[in-house]
């Protein structure tokens, strides 16, 4: 294996041979194709950031208090103004008959007549201040974090969703980390060869359970069983979702931790065993400390996987956007919010853009988690190979 890591000698062999036109063209072609991965990472970032940019820049200006446009002014008003007034995209606007537009204007007039008056109606709810800080809306006793995108005054405070995502991910990690690391130590250090060859494929199979199936199991079976056993109030809550999420994360943490533990050179454990320590002593005081950065990376990558998981939390959290750190309250995560609400939003509207803001945040968080995890693993492997001190 060693010879593959540094520049293999057949590569230098090849550099001198064959330089026909086809050869060169193919080499360029292969090279260009391999850039696709970089291209797609950039495209993902660009296209998600692009849709959320107006929110970041604060250029979404759409107050619900507006000058009404009377129905008979349809022909005299410029199209741009009508499109903004009726929340229509250019395509939609073009595809509509005159009668449809008149009908829409009438509906809009009625809507405006019933629009709430008071201080709330004039607020630009997509400003950062309202996305992140508590605000005392009229009718509330105290400032609060409210996510209520479908209401007359659309409230987009993302704090309840951030808390929901963090809460379920942390529960998942609390549940998954001890089990996955324990199993990794057992399989890589203590178990006999025969058992090892059985358990690894079985955990790989577990990684193959689709998340929608785990979500289904949490929703239909676990939620009811846990509620009957412990008798708490809301059937779907952060705990149920967290445990199901933990089941999805266990194979991830297990395989990375197991890989880190196995990459500790055998000479380490041989030396410890030769000095008379038991298998368990060797594992816990020689191999585990040497692989510790890898274990840390496994936890970080597990966190990235947990916070990005969608179907399990969409089905098992109950999806109530409450600010609460209680494990037994229903909760709503970033991913579930995107999944549940995007289909109903107006393309290019403020709700649509806020959901892309959530996507950008999610992309950023998982990007960081992956970066940290990969760097740590890379450094660990190099150190264990003796390349850096």
């Amino acid at each position: 294996m060693k010879e593959n890591d540094s520049n293999p000698n057949w590569q230098s062999l090849a550099n001198e041979s064959g330089s026909s036109l086809i050869e060169k063209a193919m080499e360029k072609f292969v090279f260009l194709i391999s850039l696709t991965t970089i291209l797609f990472v950039l495209l993902i970032f660009v296209f998600i950031a692009r849709e959320s940019l107006p929110i970041f820049l604060g250029t979404v200006e759409r107050s619900i208090v507006r000058e009404p446009i009377p129905v008979n002014a349809l022909t005299t008003t410029p199209p741009e103004e009508l499109m903004a007034y009726l929340d229509l995209s250019a395509d939609e606007f073009q595809s509509m008959e005159k009668e449809t537009l008149e009908l829409l204007l009438e509906v809009k007039l009625e809507e405006l007549a019933q629009a709430p008056i008071g201080t709330d109606a004039t607020i630009q709810t997509t400003r950062w201040r309202y996305l992140l800080l508590p605000f005392q809306w009229s009718g509330y006793d105290a400032p609060a974090f409210i996510w209520q995108p479908i209401s007359q005054i659309r409230k987009y405070n993302i704090v309840p969703l951030l808390i929901g995502s963090l809460k379920t991910s942390l529960i998942a990690l609390l549940f998954a980390v001890p089990i996955a690391i324990g199993a990794a130590i057992y399989v890589s250090q203590l178990a006999p060869m025969r058992i090892r060859e059985w358990i690894k494929p079985m955990i790989e199979m577990m990684a193959g359970i689709p998340s929608v199936v785990l979500g289904f199991f949490a929703l239909i079976v676990m939620a009811t069983t846990l509620q009957e056993t412990f008798g708490y109030q809301s059937r779907l809550n952060a705990l149920v979702a967290g445990i199901a999420l933990g089941l999805a994360v266990i194979p991830v943490i297990f395989s990375i931790a197991e890989d880190a533990l196995t990459s500790v050179p055998q000479s380490f454990s041989h030396a410890a065993l030769a000095l008379g320590s038991s298998r368990w002593q060797t594992a816990s005081s020689v191999v585990l400390p040497a692989a510790l950065p890898g274990i840390f990376a496994a936890v970080v990558l597990g966190f990235g996987r947990a916070i990005g998981e969608t179907m399990i939390v969409l089905m098992a959290t109950g999806n109530a956007s409450i600010v609460s750190w209680s494990l037994l309250d229903s909760t709503r995560t970033i991913t579930a919010t995107i999944a549940a609400e995007l289909a109903e939003t107006v393309f290019g509207g403020e709700h649509y853009r806020i959901l892309f803001v959530l996507g950008t945040i999610l992309f950023g968080v998982t990007f960081l988690a992956n970066l940290v995890g990969d760097v740590v693993i890379h450094r660990l492997k190099r150190r264990l190979e003796g390349k850096i001190a």
Binding site: T37, M205, I209
Partner: protein, 292 residues
């Protein structure tokens, strides 16, 4: 430590036995070969043939998109790229990064890029006179492309593994006989790595078959009477159907049996694929052992 391992296996056993126990009765040949025609919530007549067709169609299309790009990238990385150059590292970290992007973000990307951007521009170019969007709709092709981007790292990583496992001596021998690098890649490296490359493909299909989040906005349909017949059709999907049956059923007790049977169908599909990769890998490993 053995205890922790036992907990994991116990959880897996509980989940699988519960699903098999409750779903076995409703799971029948009739169930997987008939369509949910009138009412998909009717436990007497329900079938999953449309969903099997939709899920199969999207993974087959995805495989067609992802395999060439994934395999060629892996060939570049192992056969051509200079190790530890900046660009190689950049491609490697892009692969790692892509593997960690949450599936719902792929869904957003699929909607923003494939459906709205590519689809919207296709409408402008190919059908400039029609106002109603044709390409710019959730569709089979957009869902497959989104899944292809998602599974790209799976294919790249396993193909790389397969290529690295080929003894360098084979390449040296080929070049010593006067073969060019391209000839060596096509005649020696790819045939030798073929089982490993196929394993990567099956692994990607297994991963994609159960994914729901990326196809929520890019092509999955709540209900369709027939099968998808065009690239621009929407499709019904096994995983999405499980989601619908568990959260939007009008009578959760009444539809419980078909829900469980649908879960069994999806699990059978993904487990068969996973088992296949595990077996293929084991075979490759024993073959390589005799090689060295």
């Amino acid at each position: 430590m053995a205890f922790a391992t036992a907990i994991i296996l116990a959880f897996a056993a509980v989940i699988l036995s519960n699903i098999l126990w409750q779903g076995w009765e409703a799971f029948s040949w009739r169930f997987i070969t008939s369509r949910a025609d009138q009412n998909m919530f009717d436990s007497q007549q329900a079938g999953v043939l449309q969903m099997i067709a939709g899920t199969s169609a999207r993974v087959v299309l995805m495989t067609i998109f992802v395999m060439p790009i994934g395999v060629i990238t892996a060939i570049y990385l192992t056969e051509y790229a200079r190790k530890d150059s900046l660009l190689t590292n950049l491609i490697q970290s892009a692969v790692n990064n892509l593997a960690g992007v949450p599936s719902i973000v792929f869904g957003l990307f699929g909607l923003g890029f494939f459906v709205n951007f590519i689809g919207g521009n296709l409408d402008l170019i190919l059908r400039p006179e029609q106002a109603a969007p044709y390409w710019r709709n959730p569709a089979l092709i957009w869902a497959s492309l989104t899944l292809a981007v998602m599974t790209l790292p799976v294919v790249i990583v396993s193909t790389e593994e397969a290529l690295k496992a080929i003894p360098p001596g084979l390449r040296e021998a080929s070049m010593a006989l006067g073969a060019t690098r391209l000839e060596t890649v096509i005649r020696i490296v790819i045939p030798q790595a073929l089982p490993g490359i196929m394993t990567g493909g099956v692994l990607a299909v297994g991963r994609a078959a159960g994914e729901v989040a990326p196809i929520l906005f890019t092509g999955a349909a709540y209900y369709m009477s027939g099968y998808p017949s065009h690239l621009t059709d929407q499709f019904m999907d096994l995983g999405y159907h499980i989601f619908i049956l568990s959260t939007q059923s009008p009578d959760i007790e009444g539809t419980r049996s078909i829900l469980y049977a649908t879960v069994i169908t999806l699990l059978l599909l993904t487990f068969t694929l996973n088992l296949l990769t595990i077996l293929m890998r084991a075979r490759i490993r024993t073959k390589l052992r005799t090689f060295h």
